[in-house]
Subunit: 350 residues, 4 copies
């Protein structure tokens, strides 16, 4: 079918990979061409993920034998460092790239190397990579060759602060931003690490990453770009919650004296009125993560808890709007499809 | 739209109700007309279930003010006893009824009264009610006026035993059937009872219902109908598992001496080959409940654990194939739609 | 045994009640005399809580038939409002009172009435009630007739801020205190409410109480008392975490310019060096709630995340140090026993 | 202290290891001498397990540098195969051995080699090893040099069948025993395996081991020894439940015609009347796993579900009575201490 988007996936055995498969296998405009996995080459996808029986009729393929060059777009659902090693060749073959890892998120190659402990393989491509947050960079997606899909935490923080920062607005003290964020365990990926065992993570709660989290420089870079200035500091404390999917970021903000009369509820509602995947809840709401489970929605609530204090609550499903769903939304925009196509799944509640 | 099925829901505030809403609001051939709740009359559905924001634009309506008579079909997602009290009037108005509770499951009114501790309001309708298991009673659904949607446990037990019992087959000792069944907590409904509190049910496991469970007579009635004889006994032990959705029934069966040469795997595969919602897994498989989470699929595996011993494992999502999804499947069959319409949701894994 | 503390419990069917029973039934200096419950009068305690079989040989007694006047001390593990209605009579009989609810926490009767929507039954006793946080009010406990056991959130916030505020210290901006707190579900009690059902709370996360939480005035009152001034504001945002026990409070604090050279780690270690139940973790630690599960310990970690930013993490078990264990610790202090007596349980990990 | 038992632990970083530490560090007659771990040598035990801060003042030691020869007894909380490689040397040094793994459970070295895929290092010691189920082998423990601590599943199955089988009783059909068993995830150990990740095991349920589980031959060997004959077959189907600790085994049994008049409830109560750690619940009870969480208790209930059908429910904490607690109980018996010493922990509920 000449008008379907031919899609390849590199690294399909993690949670963002199987989530891409769930979404893309039901996408009416997509033809799933190939999926790679070095470790699982030859295995049927639905033998590994029985949830996909009858939906995905592919086997994992050795990366260097996969017909990626014949795809229109390749998603990288891989560890950091893989996409950048293959990007040049794919672009040369006319294939567009959506990276769900961090290779193209930081504009500054030195910052990338500092945080990810590896040299950047194609720093010359960083400038052209589009940061895949359609609510901000929609206009650049149709022509993008490389999309850097945002991290899950950064999506909550950017969308939650967007109405307050963009357009040079002076509403909150940008030197005192606090993001107290909570993530389900799937955010850590499908990795055989002790900390993510059921018996370590269940019935338990903790903060982590207090000595530095890789999403911090990404958030700072992006928030400064949105605000249009660098006078902006962010305290970011991520926490691990014993649930599979879901993320809640609680933003603690200080309202500037000159902004005491602003109607923040209205500001948020207006900013996101036309966004299909951002839902500003009525005043007084307390969104729970299950209200977006399995869907591409972000829900948020704005609380004026004191004259000079704003608390913004943002929830999303870290595997959908926080990863694979956002990537599909970007793909839709890149290929001139409606952004919502293939992303109409209702949240699963309970 | 004259060709859409006009649907009413009575009792939409429980888990089977919100699950019906999730499925029906995305069903291309359905028009959701009304939904009732005495307690929540006037409340917007999406205020109660924010997961449905942008999907369901209705308010709960007082039962006696709801335009049920103008519907093509009414689903009862109510406690036992409600559907039977309204069935006559609805039928008289030409409205078909699908009851997700037990009012029409037992053919014997006396048995109903014994197990449900209430007189039956319309025993004369029991005979015409069709038991809503399409894999068995498909042919009767197009003309059915009343459908008794099966319980979740009975669905697993009937489908798991079907190939062994139907057609008068003599393969297993029918006097020694054992169903050791495990259910997620949502099977108990959205009820304010101590036993289903998070702190009572989480990180815990127990058997229950050992002194008699209402699904037992339903299963016996149905299995005897399938087998064509009454020489059939079933030990049924349900268990509560700390998960939201999901049911696994482990059937322990004794193979008759004359059936030792049967290829049970093949028997199951052939029986269900044409069934869109029954998936017989390859030999040696161990289905997990998440492989069907949020979908209408049943998956099963057949294990010959000894020369004379068969273990059959059956999983489904108790709110979908075990309740609301099955009801929608029945509705499709009743109204001449493809059975799979509106039921293509991929399981949510992880 | 004349030298054992004769103990009565009013309202023993909730989570703080059963936790008191777990602790007191193993306490070498305690004789459990009676336990009341209107609803369960006549029921054996161990029929309701089989975990106590062989440990508690009592039946629940009608409140007005319980021999409370013959006790040395009575614990109220009741809803708010019960202890104050019985306090005068018990005190008159020479019985001391430990209230695990809020009746004696707020010194200001008007504030109590505003937050708890009921008149205070004995405002004249508020002044003599001792706030049961031994780390601060230890000296007053031996002579206390009424102890107001602190709420779980307030315990974390007060202990977490104590070294920074007490003694008139000027280390942090007290007008900008933020407590982002997370609680396990048992903090809500053993109540038949929808929000605490397994299927509502599991695999889910949310903030709540943003429009006002009863622990907020308690915390403000106490923090101002500790600081010795009223120029102190606190943003408090509680969250619900899908775990049974456990509380983590993340304190976001702004260091004053004049305090930039303070060694906060050392400050905390020194302050709590002699405290048997407060454990300051080594620099860089990220305490998890399971490290205190079932025990009376508080663990905390101090993170200097920027030159002017301090993050303090505090964990405890909300049913032990956050409720019943703290009450037993107070009882020990009241009766001249070692504070640690009967509270040596090791945390249960995993 | 000359009269304390000097204890060494080999392999203390798994769940049975940390559970041994929890129990032994509070045991009044034990001196913890050393604990080994190749991987963690040099690490403080309480840095790895902060729950043990203030309780265990040891560092992990390289196995070959640990003063094991100076101990009275060494516990092996190791993978299968380690204890047998060190047993001879320890015995020669006069040190007694308690193995929590399988090295000494199967009396038949060939069976061991078949199921555990390794040659047995000291088959000559198999005969003298005592199977560490005190309820059966108590008399042999005081003189035992090697104790084979039972598996968790076998403990439930043996204790649950003991009153029916021992003494040559003919009460149930021993050719048709069915154990449908459910385990919490900690039973799998602290292993970095995909299947035990939070996101794989949470909100999920499955059967496993249907093609053969290593506990099956152990159970058959033991049950045949108890029954005194080999005419005994067992279908064993283990399941994984999303909880940390806890095991429930549901025994499905066929009552022999000649035993229809037996009072099974009384039979069980009498058999276990003197057992400190076996609690037969009143008729009609449905034990839940949390009623034993963290304690060394077994609770069971006996249900006559039909004239010829018995269902026995057995719960324990797989890490305590199913592993480390049972090992401590054996140690007590070996050294002439009261069996209950150090094992009085109340279950943690909720």
């Amino acid at each position: 079918m000449s008008d379907r988007i031919r899609v390849g996936i590199v690294g399909g055995t993690g949670y963002t990979g199987v989530e891409l498969l769930r979404l893309l296998s039901a996408h009416p405009a997509v033809e799933l061409v190939t999926i790679t996995s070095r470790k699982e080459a030859g295995t049927r996808v639905d033998a590994m993920f029985p949830s996909l029986r009858g939906r995905v009729d592919l086997r994992f393929v050795e990366p260097d034998q996969a017909p990626l060059a014949g795809c229109d777009v390749v998603f990288f659902a891989t560890p950091h460092g893989v996409a950048m090693s293959q990007a040049r060749a794919l672009l040369a073959a006319g294939v567009r790239v959506i990276d769900l890892a961090a290779d193209f998120r930081l504009q500054d190659a030195a910052a990338f190397e500092r945080w990810y402990k590896m040299p950047h393989a194609c720093p010359e491509l960083l400038r052209e990579a589009v940061y895949g947050l359609p609510e901000i960079y929609r206009a650049r997606l149709p022509s993008a060759r490389i999309v850097a899909n945002p991290g899950c935490y950064p999506t909550t923080v950017q969308l939650g602060l967007l109405p307050l920062l963009e357009g040079g607005r002076r509403l909150i003290n940008t030197r005192s931003l606090i993001a107290d964020a909570k993530s389900g365990v799937s955010g850590a990926g499908r990795k055989e690490e002790l900390a993510y065992l059921f018996c370590e993570a269940a019935d338990n709660h903790k903060a982590y990453g207090l000595r530095g989290h890789r999403h911090h420089p990404e958030m700072l870079q992006q928030l400064r770009a949105i605000a249009g200035h660098d006078d902006l500091e962010l305290v970011f404390v991520p926490h691990l919650v014993p649930m599979i999917r879901g993320m809640l970021t609680t933003l603690h903000l200080q309202i500037l004296p000159e902004a005491r009369d602003v109607d923040f509820q209205r500001l948020y509602e207006e900013r996101f009125a036309a966004e299909p995947f951002v839902d500003v809840l009525p005043t007084g709401s307390e969104p729970d993560t299950r209200s977006v489970r399995g869907s591409n929605m972000v829900r948020m609530a704005v609380h004026r808890v004191a004259a000079d204090r704003l608390v913004v609550l943002v929830v999303l499903d870290n595997l959908v709007k926080g990863a694979s769903g956002q990537a599909v939304q970007c793909m839709n925009a890149m290929f001139g499809r409606p952004e919502t196509e293939g992303l109409a799944q209702a949240p699963l509640l309970p």
